[in-house]
Symmetry: C2
Subunit: 397 residues, 2 copies
């Protein structure tokens, strides 16, 4: 059995502007290559900072439940997490995580799926809270939120993907938070290729708090504001003038009905996970279109929670442009796919209609619960697409 | 912007028993905290060992395609990969990867799903090949396999989960390979909690080679045997006497028909991914059973590839035991769930029927394509279950 072990006391300092623990003796990275990790855990290392002195983590008989030892949520701010490959940046308030794109996160074309990207955004956001020392045992809820029986709910998400990360690529994901109105929080992300430095994707989102029992939105309690506002910065990943997403109705061109959440679609909050929403949305777009196009932007406006017993309907409608406007006579109607194809050919062709290159194909989406009496909106969406590039020029042999 | 950078020349030596490159100057770990990674990449570091001298990676005009720089598959054996948190062990032939269980890899109960575990097995297996320097740009295929137009196909997989990893838990996944008959390969895994040292799960699998064009199984060419056999060891993660899985037919008690692979279910080999099979299998078990039980073992016997145009049927049947044998009279038949529940109560109760504790609930599974003329088996399965423990004793506040 191979065995090596070394500890580095690095020149890293926790760049904190606030009053969290900043013990430089904790800035150690432990690399440990033995099979018996238990006896090698350094009680001062970054990842073994479980605080036995914290009341919240001691069970009634005084022992620490084994699950907490295994989970080991930090109770104080951490500046480096070698296992998560996470790092506090931005003067002590932002978070960067280095991630390798895994084999099961890519599709048949060996590039990361949109779902994988959204999953990684969620993961890095939670790890940011994890590193902050503020994480309670919920889905990103702080200790103050738990005391007030509050959970986070996302109200809006906008992601832009310029280049999809590829299998095995090492990417840096930066995330940070800022104020959004009086009671909300903005969270942004930037994904960069480590090999080229190129920005691959960016995203912004807004979050509000909901009472876990009443399921009603809540103001941000002062206690919570005091926890999170020291982490707020102004920087924005996407400069945008949000556009209203119109509401689709039963006349929408494409529709998938009778979608039922599966057990495996529920997340730690016992709701259908946002990423599942996106899958339902995109699966409603015709295959032929998906074959030739890749998503470059998605905006999601969340309206209502979706629980495990809801029956969901997914509607979508391609956006129409003036020059390609729909002929009101159904008989003369040119198939939409042909029109898109035409538009794309014009765009990619001789540039006769140069202004068209500002008109990528777009779809409007709606997910709604379909009750017997009425429908209720879950999420509205807008997606923007571009023509797929030819397959990657890897040598076949 | 935070910035730090340091390089460690560690005492790690590549413990290789074979002739791969073992340049100690490459045993450097680079930790880099700047936003401009491009200018900081150390051309001698473990993760930047892209070899411009390799013919296979040079395009016709002599330049290296950008995708290859981004993907950066090593052409020589690596002993440490700090980004994958991977390490060559077992005297130079095994692989260990440290993984943090991510928020989207767990279900509503905050423990990793079986699908996530299977995904991580796939990922570590591929990273083992990645580290070996043998990986071509396929799904684990070596250079010799690519030259012979061969791909890997899994013929059998057996996974046992004693304890499900929990959200945020740091686990070490060890994987290694061995011979399986004359033309096959065995691959095993062991998943351990780093905090407790406890083995959480183990798995074994057998693999054979298939001609990518003819889709027929192939002997292992000598060229490929020479590549991979130096990596073979005898150790087994699971000592087992494989039991034949009987074939279900249309009389199976539970059935889901008309299952259609989605675009997102296809992997890099353009086939429905194995993990999707497992989802289809488990979704056929009644919800009421899944509510109270968790899977402790799964055996999969693969028979046939499943492509994107196949329509799939999932059958399953609970195993019957002597004492709880099915009453042939349908009217008197006790519902299976009640019988399982009864059995579990007896097992967990006063031990009157001590021998029953060797009879956990089991299901037999079959996935088949459902053509108009005939059905073809895709995979047979056997699952074993145990009663779920009560929810984790985390403090709610």
């Amino acid at each position: 059995m191979a065995a090596f072990s070394y500890t580095i006391t690095s020149p890293i300092r926790c760049q904190s502007g606030n009053s969290y623990n900043n013990d430089p003796t904790k800035n150690r990275i432990k690399v440990n290559g033995t099979s018996n990790r238990l006896s090698k855990v350094d009680p001062l290392s970054q990842t073994a900072s479980f605080q036995t002195s914290s009341d919240a983590f001691i069970s009634e008989n005084g022992s620490i439940p084994k699950e907490q030892i295994r989970q080991n949520i930090p109770t104080k701010k951490q500046c480096v997490d070698p296992h998560r490959q996470g790092l506090i940046i931005e003067g002590g308030v932002g978070y960067r995580q280095t991630v390798v794109i895994r084999s099961y996160e890519v599709g048949a074309d060996k590039t990361a799926t949109l779902e994988s990207i959204l999953n990684l955004l969620q993961e890095t956001a939670l790890n940011h809270v994890w590193m902050s020392g503020l994480l309670s045992n919920g889905f990103g809820a702080t200790h103050g939120m738990v005391r007030n029986n509050l959970i986070w709910v996302v109200s809006r998400m906008h992601a832009q993907v310029d280049h999809y990360p590829i299998w095995g690529e090492i990417v840096d994901i930066d995330t940070w938070v800022g104020a959004s109105g009086k009671n909300g929080m903005r969270r942004d992300w930037l994904i960069r290729s480590q090999a080229t430095g190129q920005v691959l994707a960016r995203a912004t989102s807004t979050w509000v708090m909901m009472n876990q029992t009443t399921r009603r939105l809540s103001k941000m309690p002062e206690e919570v504001r005091a926890e999170i506002s020291p982490w707020f910065i102004e920087k924005q990943a996407i400069e945008e003038a949000p556009e209203k997403i119109s509401k689709l109705d039963d006349k929408a061109r494409y529709m998938n009905s009778n979608l039922k959440p599966k057990r495996s679609d529920l997340d730690m909050n016992h709701h259908v996970n946002n990423v599942k929403y996106v899958r339902w949305m995109l699966e409603t777009i015709p295959d032929q279109f998906l074959e030739d196009h890749q998503l470059s932007s998605i905006v999601l406006e969340y309206r209502r929670e979706c629980g495990s017993s809801d029956i969901v309907q997914s509607l979508c409608e391609p956006d129409e442009y003036g020059i390609l406007a729909r002929d009101s006579s159904e008989e003369n109607e040119m198939s939409l796919l042909n029109r898109f194809s035409l538009a794309t050919q014009i765009i990619q062709g001789n540039g006769l209609l140069g202004s068209l290159d500002k008109m990528p194909p777009r779809y409007t989406h709606l997910l709604q619960t379909k009750g017997e009496a009425k429908s209720e909106e879950i999420v509205r969406g807008k997606t923007e697409w571009k023509r797929k590039l030819p397959a990657m020029p890897f040598p076949s042999k």
